[in-house]
């Protein structure tokens, strides 16, 4: 009897892909490379205008033809009372301003060369989110991924256009709600992940969600960087993996070379789960800013959006002047396994080979 290919999952059948590996990236070139290597890729477009999103979709289609790909947006799930930028800045306590000034002096942080990106960006409200979604509907993008917030209200419109809708969740009850609404797949994201993530570990959240998902495919996210992680995720009942940090240092990635070098040198101990950048817990590479806010005499971190207004100028200056000691990037705990700047295609194939070897090890096949 022919042996089943353990890497051929229901996610592969749903999307018509060869390998159950999803790359989440902000770089179009990575999307093209991963899709053409037999995986699936999702472009994060949350900070882009509708016109930019339309242009990116056209670019990707010119590179991948009819192969499917996805676009990730962030749907707001809660909205505080609105304030102008000036009103928000005026509410930052003087003690916090002085502490930040001290950081600038101790670390010789220069003035940014460019306008602070966060100050230029108007923020995401319901109106902007809907304008972004309208582009996806007009373009009939194969897959829409909601990186936060429930896509339930737009599901019917997307399904009528032949689109698939995935939801990324950090709690089982969110997954239950979205599965009941009819999403096509769930991404269960654990604490190991890069960026803003929930407090539940990948090894707990994935089987929890699988247990309630029925036929809905579940992808494992958080710390997934190797073929062994892929094999483990499938053993937990996942139908695939959602990977992010893995692609930041790949050859096609447009990340700054300094960030790539920091990622290649980093171990899992070089990431920190901290509120000091945005006011909400997020996992990032350690840097001067995280070190300062971790000191016992540091003031209490402010909530969003005030803390991110405090950190915005530092981040802009760090990136403008390309200072390795100041620069940071969201990175998951799996960063330890990223040791070479490989082409994205090679990363896909290495992950597949390693996963198959792991399964062979388990079953005793030579």
């Amino acid at each position: 009897m022919a042996k089943k290919n353990p890497l051929h999952t229901k996610l592969c059948d749903m999307l018509g892909i060869e390998f159950p590996i999803i790359a989440f990236t902000h770089c179009k070139d990575v999307v093209g490379a991963v899709v053409n290597a037999g995986g699936f890729a999702v472009l994060g477009e949350a900070m882009h205008t509708p016109d930019e999103i339309a242009a990116d979709i056209k670019w990707i289609r010119s590179r991948v033809g009819d192969k499917p790909f996805g676009i990730d947006l962030v749907l707001p799930a809660s909205v505080p009372p609105a304030d102008t930028l000036e009103q928000l800045l005026a509410k930052i306590p003087e003690g916090h301003r002085k502490f930040v000034q001290g950081i600038k002096e101790r670390h010789k942080v220069p003035e940014p060369k460019n306008p602070v990106a966060l100050h230029q960006w108007g923020g995401l409200n319901q109106e902007m989110a809907r304008a972004q979604l309208d582009v996806l509907l007009d373009e009939r993008v194969p897959v829409f991924v909601s990186g936060l917030g429930s896509p339930a209200f737009i599901l019917k419109a997307m399904h009528e256009r032949g689109m698939k809708v995935f939801g990324l969740i950090g709690k089982t009850r969110q997954a239950k709600r979205e599965i009941e609404a009819g999403v096509d797949a769930i991404i269960a994201q654990g604490y190991d992940a890069a960026g803003h993530t929930g407090p539940i570990g990948t090894f707990s959240i994935v089987p929890e969600v699988v247990a309630i998902a029925g036929d809905t495919p579940v992808m494992a996210a958080g710390g997934v960087t190797t073929g062994r992680h892929l094999a483990a995720a499938l053993c937990l009942g996942a139908a695939g993996v959602w990977t992010g940090t893995l692609w930041l240092a790949c050859r096609e990635s447009d990340s700054d070379m300094i960030v790539k070098e920091k990622l290649l040198a980093a171990t899992s101990d070089d990431t920190v789960y901290s509120r000091c950048i945005s006011g909400m817990p997020m996992r990032i590479l350690k840097c001067a800013w995280t070190e300062e806010w971790g000191k016992p005499d540091a003031p209490a971190v402010l909530p969003a959006p005030y803390q991110m207004l405090l950190s915005a100028e530092y981040i802009q200056a760090a990136n403008d002047h390309r200072r390795p000691d100041l620069m940071t990037e969201a990175a998951g705990q799996g960063v330890d396994f990223i040791k070479a700047m490989k082409p994205a295609r090679q990363i896909v194939f290495d992950m597949v080979d390693e996963a198959l070897a792991a399964f062979d090890d388990l079953t005793g096949d030579e």
Binding site: P76, A77, P80, L124, N125, Q126, G149, F153, I277, M280
Partner: protein, 90 residues
């Protein structure tokens, strides 16, 4: 960002008596600098007030008297997307 590309989206306010006064949690959050999603959690009381944005309607409920909110959150009210609201009294 170009917020005007698709014009203003109509918002229709309403009141749902069935949920007014009920305690609820909101698995909230949104977008922060760098284009990343960030989660924020709230617990409070639903007033029953809601707003439906656009078509298909995207419903938002008003949660007040917040007994749990992110540290330093400056006000005692938050608008929560309906699918992110979990009633505590049911």
């Amino acid at each position: 960002m170009n917020n005007k590309r698709h014009g203003s989206i109509p918002a229709r306010p309403g009141f749902d008596a069935a949920i007014a006064g009920k305690r609820a949690e909101c698995d909230g959050g949104g977008l922060v600098a760098g284009g990343r999603a960030a989660r924020q959690e709230f617990t409070g009381m639903l007033t029953g007030e809601y707003v439906d944005h656009g078509d298909p309607p995207w419903r938002w409920y008003l949660l007040v008297d917040l007994s749990r909110k992110p540290e330093g959150y400056p006000t005692d009210a938050v608008w929560c997307e309906s699918e992110s609201v979990f009633l505590l009294d049911d």
